[in-house]
């Protein structure tokens, strides 16, 4: 194990895989739902590289040929997944986002993309989830990297219930999916699919991605803005953005590399004069440890920081006119 394993909750899983209580984290939701899917569908296969193995002891015992742990070998992890897809199975490939997307990027590009086979890549620990682990365990660039590849759906759930639903849908399909799970989550689950409209306003639109929503809602309290929520960021839901757009000021809040989806907003509004503010994790390496909250604060992604950035942006426009 590269990091101390997180404790599993008291949630019990029955022999049939039905869960007794709601999962308390996205990672737990993954463990439970993935185990259910392995029970339900013989074409589903899970590939691990030691990480999160503690969630799959029972599944491994029950389905030894469909729960494959390759050890600490991420290049093999991804290409074994692709090779399983070539044999006709539906692979789910899992580890920390840094090792899955960054270390094994060419395997994703060629094993899944160039071969043109389907699979579900599920990561944990994105961005600053493992803040105390330092840069080796932080990967804010994962979504941007996957976004360079054609035909990948990218989901950034903001709640364990959303994670569960998105995983089920992803496994039921046959495409290429990147499902990004984090420790941070919102208090309430939202519907998955197209963007949901959380709040209507006239002064501009704020797009909150995944676990940033609660902070965005607090930050925009009393501001006359529309707040949209996206747990699916690829394909980008340009239709909801343009349909609900009032004044063409757009603020994009992503919990990973700043500006990752800016080009989609620009594309959606290419015929509309508009302003765009992108908020997210900056390129500069934050050489400090601490908690995810500390990192949010340092990146101005906490409610106070977001409010500062958003009001500055809106005020600057008012001043200019």
């Amino acid at each position: 194990m590269r990091t101390p394993s997180r404790s599993t909750s008291a949630t019990s899983t029955t022999a049939t895989g039905a869960t007794a209580t709601a999962p308390t984290s996205m990672r737990e939701a993954f463990g439970e739902t993935m185990s259910e899917l392995l029970d339900e569908d013989l074409s589903t296969v899970l590939v691990l590289a030691d990480i999160s193995r503690q969630y799959f002891r029972q599944a491994e015992a029950e389905h030894p040929e469909r729960v494959i742990n390759v050890g600490i070998r991420e290049q093999l992890l991804v290409n074994v997944g692709a090779g399983l897809a070539l044999s006709g199975l539906r692979p789910v490939v899992h580890t920390f986002s840094t090792f899955l997307v960054e270390r094994a990027f060419e395997q994703i590009k060629l094993g899944f993309g160039h071969q043109d086979v389907g699979g579900v890549l599920v990561s944990v620990g994105g961005s600053y989830d493992v803040s105390s682990g330092g840069r080796t365990h932080q990967g804010p660039g994962d979504v941007a990297l996957v976004d360079t590849l054609p035909d990948f759906d990218i989901h950034v759930p903001g709640h364990p219930v959303e994670a569960r639903r998105l995983l089920r849908d992803a496994v039921a399909g046959d495409g290429r999916v990147y499902l990004r799970l984090t420790e941070d989550s919102n208090a309430q689950a939202r519907p998955t699919g197209s963007m949901s409209v959380e709040r209507r306003g006239a002064r501009g639109s704020v797009i909150a991605v995944g676990p940033t929503l609660d902070s965005v809602l607090t930050a925009t309290e009393g501001l006359d803005v529309t707040v949209l929520y996206a747990s699916t960021i690829r394909p980008f839901d340009a239709a909801t953005l343009t349909r609900t757009l009032g004044f063409a000021d757009v603020i994009l809040v992503e919990p990973y590399a700043v500006g990752t989806s800016a080009w989609h907003v620009s594309q959606a509004l290419r015929h509309v004069p508009h302003r765009l503010l992108s908020l997210g994790v900056p390129r500069a390496e934050l050489r400090s440890y601490g908690s995810p909250r500390d990192h949010q604060r340092a990146h101005d992604l906490d409610a106070a920081g977001l409010r500062r950035s958003i009001t500055d942006f809106l005020d600057a426009d008012t001043a200019a006119r």
Binding site: E65, V70, N79, V80, L84, S87
Partner: protein, 242 residues
């Protein structure tokens, strides 16, 4: 090492219609390259490929999508003229395609693409991907109770890529008896393999066989499926890279 292909040139064979024999392959390669003769590097895989498609693999152009077919993964996708020649000879695509090799309107690139060429099971070119993919497919076939095998061809220099070490160790650990790796060894690895390539696989529990990579009978014997319960490595030794 004596080589049956040494004496073969395009002059001797102009056959352009099936059935093709091994002697026709240099002519089919010439259609791609425009060269009358091919050096050892271009033909290093030719004998292995021919024996596989002629005698070993349970695969045919008529059953391209049969889930129970044997899988052949050309991991060393560089220099695929011999591969295309064998596939054309075995009817996977028309011989006409060969002349366009590498052109804008050809399906035959300098590295093969499974989405463009019937019979090509994996798209390769970047080294060190085919073997790990083969491990995944062998695991997948085993999980589905399909009794076919996966044969993967790598080069000895390709094994420099660390991804192969991951695949070698895990295939041995998982007793992947439905997997055969054939390394065409022309000793082109910059730093070589101490004790030979095979020694490294043997340590990881593979059955290792060394054969003359130009001797069809020896290749057939070595590559034929056995009752082994572990994966098999065939080291096919050919002339040094010139």
């Amino acid at each position: 090492m004596s080589s049956p292909t040494d004496s073969l040139t395009a002059d001797q064979t102009h056959r352009r219609t099936p059935p093709f024999s091994f002697e026709d392959l240099p002519g089919l390669m010439s259609l791609q390259t425009g060269d009358e003769k091919h050096g050892p590097a271009a033909t290093s895989t030719l004998d292995v490929l021919w024996v596989l498609y002629d005698e070993i693999l349970d695969v045919s152009a008529a059953a391209l999508d049969d889930p129970a077919r044997d899988r052949f993964y050309l991991s060393k996708g560089h220099g695929p003229m011999a591969y295309y020649a064998v596939l054309a000879a075995k009817g996977f695509f028309p011989v006409d395609w060969l002349a366009g090799f590498g052109g804008a309107h050809s399906r035959l690139g300098h590295h093969p693409d499974r989405n463009l060429v019937p019979g090509v099971e994996i798209s390769s070119g970047s080294l060190g991907h085919g073997f790990p993919l083969a491990v995944g497919t062998a695991l997948g076939l085993r999980a589905q109770g399909v009794d076919s095998r996966v044969v993967c061809l790598v080069g000895d220099a390709e094994l420099d890529e660390g991804s192969n070490a991951e695949a070698m160790t895990v295939a041995g650990s998982f007793d992947l008896s439905n997997l055969t790796v054939v390394v065409v060894d022309n000793r082109s690895s910059s730093h070589g393999w101490r004790g030979g390539v095979g020694a490294h696989f043997a340590v990881e529990g593979w059955i290792v066989q060394r054969v003359d990579g130009r001797d069809h009978q020896a290749l057939a014997v070595a590559m034929r499926r056995t009752a082994a319960t572990v994966p098999t490595l065939v080291v096919a030794e050919v002339e040094d890279q010139s």
